[in-house]
Each structure stands twice: as C-alpha cells, then as structure tokens.
C-alpha cells in the first residue's frame, strides 16, 4: 500500500473510532499494519488465522470496542466459517484485493476470483476502494454500516491505493 494511502486508512480508523485491530500480516497492507502498531490509540493483535481474528474481533466488539481485521483477501476463505457463524457481530474487514485488475502477481487471480462471490454468499456489504481520495469516505461509511447492519462489513483496497 502507498504510505500516503496507509496514513489515510489509519487516520480514518481513528477518526471513526475503530480502536481494536486484528492483523494477519499481508504484503499490500504492510504499511497500514506498521502505522497502527506505532499509534498508541490502537490495540493491535496479530493473529495466526483469519477465522481466529474474526472471532477475536467479535469478542472485542462485545466488550464495547469497534474492531477491524486487516488481512489479504485470500484470508476471506479461511475466515468464512467464523464470518458465517458470527453473522451478527460487527467486524470491519480491511482487505487487499489481490487478483483485481492490474495485479502483476501470478498468484493474484486465483485469490481474487472468489473474493466478491464469497462476500455476496455471506451477505457481507462491501466496497472496492481504488483511489486515495475514496479512502476517508469509504471507511466512514463502512463504520456507519457496521453500526447499523450489525454484522461484518468489508473494504477491498486495490488500484491507486496500492501502487
């Protein structure tokens, strides 16, 4: 992720009061991960599996903290069982969108091809964020949806936010 984009993501998470962050390290979101670790506003937990991360975030929400899970979109498949079971527990999924248009990695498309169908199957509202100027508003609206839909919500970062 561009450092400028990562700063916008972290600033928006703080502004919209999302203090609890689960992370499974991801190459595209690496800069955002570093920034939340450096910022004492955030409680950051590195997890070992995205499904575990979703369950941890759900528990943090029940304790009064809005929570987000930073991960690669491949982790959506790993997290699907937890997301399906905990369908009424809000967690903001902040994912890189591997396999979207313009991804130069050969392994990207096999990851990306199932991302949106899985979000649709799990009835998770989501938006694709391709431009830096969309970041602040996307996170603000995602948090509003989190609070009203009372379930998981996803943002997929790609395009000019990454390269």
């Amino acid at each position: 992720m561009k450092l400028s984009s990562a700063k916008l993501v972290v600033e928006a998470l703080r502004k919209n009061e999302v203090p609890f962050i689960g992370v499974l390290p991801d190459g595209w979101l690496f800069e955002a991960y570093q920034l939340v670790c450096e910022d004492p506003y955030f409680k950051v937990v590195q997890v070992t599996h995205e499904g575990e991360g979703v369950s941890i975030c759900a528990g943090a929400w029940a304790g009064g903290l809005r929570s987000a899970m930073m991960m690669e979109n491949s982790g959506l498949r790993a997290a699907a069982e937890a997301l399906g079971r905990l369908y009424c527990y809000p967690v903001l999924l902040l994912m890189s969108y591997r396999g979207d248009f313009g991804d130069s990695a050969h392994f990207g498309r096999p990851i990306g091809r199932t991302t949106e169908p899985i979000l649709d199957a799990l009835e998770i509202p989501y938006a694709v964020v391709r431009k830096e100027e969309e970041i602040a508003k996307s996170i603000q609206e995602a948090v509003k949806t989190l609070d009203t839909a009372h379930g998981p919500v996803a943002l997929l970062f790609t395009g000019e936010t990454i390269r």
């Binding site: 609890f20 937990v45 070992t48 499904g51 575990e52 759900a58 009064g64 903290l65 069982e81």
Partner: protein
C-alpha cells in the same frame, strides 16, 4: 467426573464475571444450572476461546471465564499461540475434555489418542496450564480461575455424559443482544450503538397530495 457436577461447583463462584460458553451440550447444561445475562452463548467450532480472548482484551478490568470443549478448541488450536503471546491477566479458560465429539454421536477426538492440551498450552508459553481429573481438583482450579488474576488454562477431564436439560430456544442474535445489554449496564458503555433518531418539526410539514 461429569461435566454437570463441575458446572454445579463453578456456578456459585460466578458473580459479575462474563462467561463465554461453547456450542453443544455444555451450553445447555450451563444455562440450566446458571441462567444469567452475563452468559454469552456462541455457535461454531473454534471461536469460543478467541471470542473470550477478544472480550478480555477489550475489558481488561473485568474477569472473563471461557467454557470450551476439546472438539471446539482443537478446531482452532492455533489460537494457543496468540493466547500465550498476549496472556490476558483477566482470562480463565476451562476446556471440558470428554475426549470425544459427544454432541454429535461420541466419535473419539484426538485427545483420546494421547494429545495433551495442557502440555501444548505450556509449550506455547502459558505457565498456569493444568489438567484436573477429580472434583476437588476442579474446585480448587475453579476458585483460582474465577477469583485470582493471571491467565489460567485448565483442561477438565470428564466422562461422556449428557444431563437431562429442559428444551430452550436459542437464537444467536437474541443471545448477543441480551449479553451486549448486560455488558452495557454493568460497564456503563455502549455496545449496540443505537442509531440517533432525527427529530422533525410537524409544523414545518407541507401537505402532500
């Protein structure tokens, strides 16, 4: 040792602790013995202890007690690493280990074949990880687990046995709301974050056709 007898010992020790309970028979037996709004019932394998861990991190001043099972815990065994790294001091995990998938017919789990969950927890770095096999041992572990600070991980070896429990309707959303309101009331915080209702002035309404 039966799970129901352990739960009967544990119940009077619980006051304002938050109790996160795994799916299956454990949930039904605990609800029969100790129905209270501070119980959080989950469905799904592998998520119970991670959920309790997240809750404990969010409310570090509040004791969280997790009632999990061998089958469910094995499903998300990787969580031991995260749990051991953070060691929330307000979390006490009980794994009721009947060495089988009792709720779905009784097929043996891997703990019936020598897998030692307490040893694995110690290997991950959780010092207070023990196995108890007798009710007196459980009573001691429960007292420490509920009343003392420090991460505790207690494997409770039980025989397969399902108590007769009354029929009760469970819906995750209802359970979530009941528990969330208990947390809101006892912590004086907002969990459910209700939407603000916009106020409108009827005198400014224009007639419509």
């Amino acid at each position: 040792m039966k799970r129901i007898d352990c739960l009967k010992i544990l119940a009077p020790m619980i006051q304002n602790e938050l109790v996160v309970v795994t799916l299956g028979v454990t949930k039904h037996e605990w609800e029969m013995i100790n129905p209270r709004d501070g119980n959080c019932y989950l469905s799904g394998m592998g998520g119970t202890t991670p959920f309790g861990f997240g809750l404990a991190l969010a409310l570090p001043h509040r004791k969280v007690v997790v009632l999990d099972s061998d089958g469910s815990f094995l499903f998300g065994l990787n969580h031991l690493a995260t749990l051991a790294v953070h060691k929330p001091q307000n979390l006490s995990v009980f794994i009721f280990d009947n060495e089988c998938y009792e709720s779905v017919g009784g097929s043996p789990s891997q703990t019936a074949r020598g897998v030692d969950l307490a040893a694995m927890a110690r290997g991950a770095g959780i010092e207070n990880a023990i196995t108890v096999r007798e009710l007196d041992e459980f009573r001691d572990a429960a007292q420490k687990g509920v009343k003392e600070n420090g991460l505790r991980f207690t494997v409770v070896k039980i025989e397969p046995w399902i108590a007769e429990v009354p029929a009760r309707y469970y819906h995750l959303l209802e359970e979530r709301n009941r528990f969330a309101r208990y947390v809101e009331q006892t912590e004086n915080i907002s969990v459910l974050r209700p939407s603000k209702i916009p106020r409108r002035d009827p005198s400014k309404w224009k007639p419509t056709k």
